[in-house]
């Protein structure tokens, strides 16, 4: 498959399966009622997360949204620390202060997720500005949804990123809905990539369910950012398989539309392609799937057994200086 190494192809597959299985397990644990909080899951959008982030280094940054799990895992936040955070444990990636909508770990460049729609995008610009001012060659990928492109914050950010020629990639996951509202109701343009033109920003429309296509577009955008040539806007066309948040039965979508997109399931299609092109056997892929199930089992056992914060920990971390509240 192209000039990708076998190792990379299997990694892409594995990283996508990790996200899918993680989200499936979280959903199940939620149904069991043993996890606090709420969830916005990314089943179906694994290719955009993995394709965008695979080639980044730990010293590169990523900002994400209320739907962050796939991005966080793909950026290298550890499975165990993600799971522990979901169980609100001290060893969680945010030590129990974050939860499902704020997962992240700066040690791997994953900014704790911002659950204000569009709110993480100006931060991404600031991070890219800092990368440039500190004369590093780091870049920032900032994820946002189709719905977020209607936020003023996003437009101020795109304009700012262009005038300062910042090393940032706006990765727009167009999954056709903002919560229950169809994109047809919220914009009159067919492709969100057109919005980039207003800022003279290079843009591409990408099949967001094709991990190879996403990765290649990401590679171009990252190279542009690293070489000091400025931002790129990538519109990744995709679809979320599950509901917007827990308990969403998707009454606003047709079964037909869901079935059409199910045929384009990123993991299914990519797995079949790997087998067909003899990069891996079905058996090998199954072994990967099983290994990931085991890793997740272990993460759940770990997360459950870890200590919870105590109530008074709520007073910590408001300021760097403790006792200032």
């Amino acid at each position: 498959m192209l000039n990708f190494s076998r190792e990379k192809l299997l990694d892409l597959y594995k990283n996508m399966v990790l996200i899918r299985k993680y989200e499936e397990r979280i959903y199940f644990l939620f149904l069991e009622g043993i996890m606090p909080g709420t969830i916005h899951q990314s089943h179906g959008q694994e290719a955009s997360a993995v394709g965008m982030l695979y080639d980044l280094q730990k010293t590169d940054y990523m900002t994400t949204t209320h739907r962050p799990a796939g991005h966080a895992l793909a950026k290298g936040v550890s499975l165990k620390s993600m799971m522990a955070e979901m169980f609100a444990k001290t060893s969680g990636c945010c030590h129990g202060y974050g939860g499902a909508m704020h997962v992240g770990d700066m040690a791997v460049g994953a900014v704790p997720a911002i659950a204000i729609v569009g709110g993480g995008v100006p931060l991404g610009v600031g991070i890219a500005l800092s990368c440039k001012m500190r004369k590093t060659d780091s870049v920032c990928v900032t994820f946002l949804g189709d719905g977020a492109t209607n936020e003023g914050a996003v437009h101020e950010s795109m304009n700012g990123a262009m005038i300062w020629k910042l090393p940032i990639i706006f990765a727009v996951e167009n999954n056709l809905y903002g919560a229950s509202t169809s994109i047809k109701q919220t914009t009159t343009i067919e492709n969100l990539a057109e919005r980039a033109k207003a800022y003279n920003m290079p843009a591409e429309i990408v099949d967001g369910n094709d991990v190879i296509a996403v990765n290649q577009a990401a590679e171009r955008a990252i190279a542009r950012a690293r070489s000091g040539s400025g931002p790129t806007f990538l519109e990744l066309k995709t679809y979320r398989i599950g509901g917007h948040s827990r308990n969403d039965t998707c009454g606003y979508r047709t079964k037909k539309e869901e079935a059409e997109w199910a045929k384009r399931d990123a993991i299914k299609v990519f797995g079949e392609r790997l087998v067909k092109e003899k990069i891996a056997s079905r058996k090998e892929l199954n072994a990967i799937d099983e290994q990931i199930e085991q890793d997740i089992d272990e993460a759940v056992v770990y997360a459950k057994s870890e200590p919870s914060p105590v109530a008074e920990d709520a007073f910590k971390n408001v300021y760097v200086q403790e006792g200032l509240i």
Binding site: V111, L123, G126, C131, G160, I163, K316
Partner: protein, 338 residues
């Protein structure tokens, strides 16, 4: 020792911080344009000559300013951001309150956000949208520190502390106290000139200063109201009423002890601020005193604040709603006689 206006003192202090630490930079609208204004009140005038790459001029995009400052602060820089008028902080409110203030907390203490956001406040006959005093909005937000220097000495010492601080700091500055010159000079401004020592000093947050000693009533006032309170105290002194005037200098953290100590002596407390009365920082101070030090008081607490209206345009109305020296004098007299 040099005599400086607050604008000059801040300008020199910002330049000095940028010289000391190359991660310090300024970001805002019209701050570093050659031949431009140096920000709305000349604080950054000319700094672009020495620090071209670190004077980041922005489009008129307040969300961008706050977001860029926050993101940069999270990743190794120390931005000094600036809005032209405090009123425009509302445009960036989500960033400041949901992102800037909570980044450290949501990350469980993994992230520091060492940024300063400077904002001019105060009524100056510009009408309702270039006039508000906004301390109450920001003292309400856990995660933000709020400071409000009223002299050149304090502006320098507190700015330095703010720049070195690893938490986000909102710094309110009063338009009538800057002493901006030329075509940015402010009509009716007090423009106090103050002594700024040549040697480097900082002022810790949470240390109030007693501007005038007295034994009959404690007046806690900030920014421009420090000066109105002192003028009122001078008038009242002729009547034999001795006012102690305390300038808290920082609102978060707040130096309650100095206030408690003072009211143990005076038994009376008046709070003066230009932010509107309802839920202003004075309401919090009054509640704190009521719960921690009520037995020191011989009279009810008096708040002397801007009335609960938007800031009107007509000078006769504006002068009426903002606490004047006359209003403070009268209210203190009533308090003494109560």
């Amino acid at each position: 020792m040099a005599e400086k206006s607050i604008a000059e003192a801040l300008r020199d202090a910002i330049a000095e911080e940028m010289r000391r630490d190359e991660t310090v930079f300024c970001i805002g609208e019209d701050i570093g344009i050659e031949g431009g204004f140096g920000g709305a009140f000349t604080v950054t005038l000319g700094l672009e000559k020495e620090f071209r790459d670190r004077m980041v001029d922005t489009p008129i995009s307040e969300i961008l300013i706050a977001g860029a400052a926050t993101g940069a602060a999270m990743t190794g820089m120390r931005p000094i951001a600036d809005v032209q008028y405090g009123d425009f902080l509302f445009c960036m409110m989500d960033q400041l309150v949901d992102e800037t203030a909570k980044m450290r907390y949501m990350s469980g203490g993994e992230i520091k956000v060492p940024m300063v956001m400077r904002a001019p406040v105060g009524a100056t006959t510009r009408g309702a949208q270039h006039a508000q005093s906004l301390e109450g909005f920001f003292t309400h937000v856990p995660g933000l520190k709020v400071i409000c220097p009223s002299t050149a000495y304090d502006a320098v010492g507190l700015l330095r502390t703010a720049v070195h601080d690893d938490d986000p700091v909102i710094m309110f500055e009063h338009k009538k106290l800057y002493g901006s010159k030329g075509n940015r000079a402010e009509k009716g401004a007090l423009s106090p000139i103050g002594e700024v020592p040549d040697e480097y000093y900082t002022i810790p947050f949470g240390e109030a200063v007693i501007r005038r000693e007295g034994t009959d009533v404690t007046i806690v006032a900030n920014l421009l109201m420090v000066y109105n309170a002192i003028s009122a105290a001078e008038i009242l002194a002729d009547e034999g009423i001795r006012c102690e005037v305390i300038d808290p200098r920082t609102l978060v953290p707040f130096d309650y002890e100095t206030v408690y100590r003072s009211i143990r002596k005076t038994g009376r407390l008046a709070i003066v601020h230009e932010d509107v009365e309802r839920n202003g920082w004075g309401a919090e101070l009054a509640a704190k005193v009521a719960s921690e030090a009520i037995y020191s008081l011989n009279a009810p607490i008096k708040r002397i604040c801007t009335y609960n209206t938007p800031i009107p345009f007509a000078p006769v109305m504006e002068n009426y709603v903002v606490p004047s020296v006359e209003r403070i004098v009268e209210e203190i007299r009533n308090l003494i006689n109560s």
